[in-house]
């Protein structure tokens, strides 16, 4: 927990009211964001996102599995977030579990769409190799290395970048009519397929401090929040998921206003991420 004195609180509230935060940012301005791809060579795709002093890593691993019986035409995506104690002694032992599961649920809500699979950031049908028999199981692991607020946005950005970095081996299914359940597959070592990541949304969290709301709050600012709304928005400006955090109630009209502000802020974030992804790809190509 961040302990702030009465003076510091006053200073922070005053600054936010005047659209000038303690670190010189405006209310809706993000901290500098930098990304690095391919940080975990053992995974199919990975990325590290640094947002100010918040550092997170996302890794994507694909394994062959069987589709769920009720959804034979869909692959499976599992999202799991872990908070490393390196981010702070409060995550020691089981201390990080509550936050980890909150973050996992929040990301699942924002990335996986509705129960029927509609509106998911990742096209689940594209993961199926043979309907009802074989599909890719996508394991998305997030790790919080250093925590200074706004973890959800950073993790969503990291997952988006990692997915764009992911190469899934090309698989050819050898269909055999006789043995129904036993399909032979040929996993290619050389050919990799890229993901279509255009539909993967970003998350913008607006934190309400006093009467105003701010984007990309630091942990000091988060300690003063009354409530926060995390909105996930995709490239087409559609809302793909929403989570409210913090106990205090919000007026419905304020809520709608926050959604439209978050939508607006997301455009900038997507643009920044796109250019960073392009830069990271270029850097990786140069390196190899």
């Amino acid at each position: 927990m961040v302990g702030l004195s009465a003076g510091e609180k006053q200073f922070m509230h005053g600054g936010i009211a005047q659209d000038l935060r303690s670190d010189g940012r405006q209310r809706l301005q993000f901290r500098p964001i930098s990304i690095q791809t391919g940080v975990i060579p053992q995974a199919n795709g990975s990325a590290r996102v640094t947002l100010g002093t918040t550092v997170v890593i996302a890794s994507i691993k694909a394994e062959l599995g069987k589709p769920a019986p009720l959804r034979p035409d869909k692959g499976k995506v599992v999202i799991f977030i872990d908070c490393s104690p390196t981010a702070g002694p409060m995550f020691e032992g089981r201390g990080g579990e509550e936050l980890s599961s909150e973050l996992s649920v929040g990301l699942q809500r924002c990335l996986l769409g509705g129960k029927s699979g509609a509106g998911a950031g990742i096209d689940l049908s594209s993961l199926v190799l043979a309907e009802g028999k074989i599909c890719w199981d996508l394991y998305i692991d997030g790790l919080v290395i250093s925590s200074d607020g706004n973890l959800l946005d950073a993790l969503a950005a990291a997952i988006k970048v990692a997915l764009s970095n992911t190469g899934i081996p090309k698989v050819s299914v050898i269909v055999e009519a006789s043995a129904e359940d036993q399909l032979e597959v040929n996993v290619s070592d050389e050919e990799f397929l890229q993901f279509d990541t255009s539909g993967v949304p970003v998350i913008v969290t607006l934190t309400k401090v006093g009467r105003h709301y701010i984007a990309d709050a630091t942990s000091e600012e988060e300690s003063q929040m009354s409530s926060a709304v995390s909105v996930s928005v995709n490239r087409h400006g559609r809302v793909c998921g929403l989570t409210k955090r913090g106990g205090a109630g919000l007026d419905p009209s304020v809520m709608l206003d926050m959604i439209s502000v978050a939508k607006h802020a997301s455009e900038n974030l997507i643009a920044v991420l796109d250019s960073e992804i392009a830069a990271a790809e270029a850097a990786e190509d140069d390196g190899s």
Partner: protein
């Protein structure tokens, strides 16, 4: 194939699946009849009673269609010694399912996600300053799960809190809504929930005009969010009146 279900042994499984697929097809159509004969913007009838368990400080029972929930509230009692000092009260929520709550016999496990969501939905409504250093325990048990579990738990819990005499700003009522293509279906059953394209859940305090919890999944346009929120908020207000009249009945019962 040890993990997957053996299809040769259970014809019902494939039948069920075919059934499901048919159902999913029918949901994609523009108009369909809901299995319980409701129209899209009609909620299930609510049956609510307070004082379901006698040992608790307060309790409530809720029945919406075939979803049945019982919530007991204990406390306020002294916080555990290990907890840090707090000048406001704490909430401890626990949501669990009975083994017979679903059609396939389940594990009867705790639902941690629901527990934390319940806590967040209620935190904003309770005047926590009135009981410093203490904890209020809220235990919710889902006897039968048939859709819209979380909103019903939230509404029922706020009724139980009122029954326990915990100071609140307002009663919290919650309603969920499913989205199928263009259609918005309020208060979905579990069958409908399993096939929905998107969902929205609101916990609302009508008198304060404040939303305490809001979740949304699936892809939505702003106009649709507006429409869905309006529907839910109206339903919440009406549900809140039902909660209130249930409390009043209880009081009248005492005086008689």
């Amino acid at each position: 194939m040890a993990s997957g279900p053996l299809e040769t042994y259970s014809p019902s499984q494939t039948l069920e699946r075919r059934h499901q697929q048919q159902k999913r097809k029918s949901f994609n159509e523009i108009d369909w009849a809901r299995s319980d004969g409701r129209n899209f913007h009609q909620c299930r009838p609510a049956y609510l009673r307070t004082g379901a368990t006698s040992s608790a400080s307060g309790s409530a029972y809720a029945e919406f269609g075939s979803t049945k929930v019982i919530v007991s509230v204990f406390g306020p009692r002294e916080s555990k010694k290990a907890m840090m000092y707090s000048d406001v009260g704490r909430l401890n929520c626990n949501v669990s399912y009975t083994t017979f709550s679903t059609s396939t016999r389940g594990q009867g496990s705790d639902n941690k996600d629901f527990s934390s969501m319940l806590q967040k939905a209620l935190e904003g409504a309770i005047i926590l300053e009135t009981f410093p250093k203490t904890t209020v325990d809220i235990f919710a048990l889902v006897l039968e799960s048939a859709g819209g579990d979380l909103p019903i738990i939230i509404s029922c819990a706020s009724l139980a809190l009122a029954d326990a005499g915990i100071m609140m700003y307002d009663l919290v009522s919650a309603v969920s809504l499913s989205c199928f293509g263009k259609n918005l279906v309020i208060d979905p059953t579990s069958e409908e929930e399993a096939c929905q394209d998107g969902s929205l859940m609101i916990a609302y305090m009508p008198i304060r005009n404040e939303v305490t919890q809001f979740t949304l999944t699936g892809e939505w346009s702003t106009a649709k969010i507006n429409e869905a929120m309006e529907l839910c908020l109206e339903a919440c207000s009406k549900l809140s009146n039902i909660l209130r009249s249930c409390l009043k009945e209880n009081v009248l019962g005492f005086t008689d």
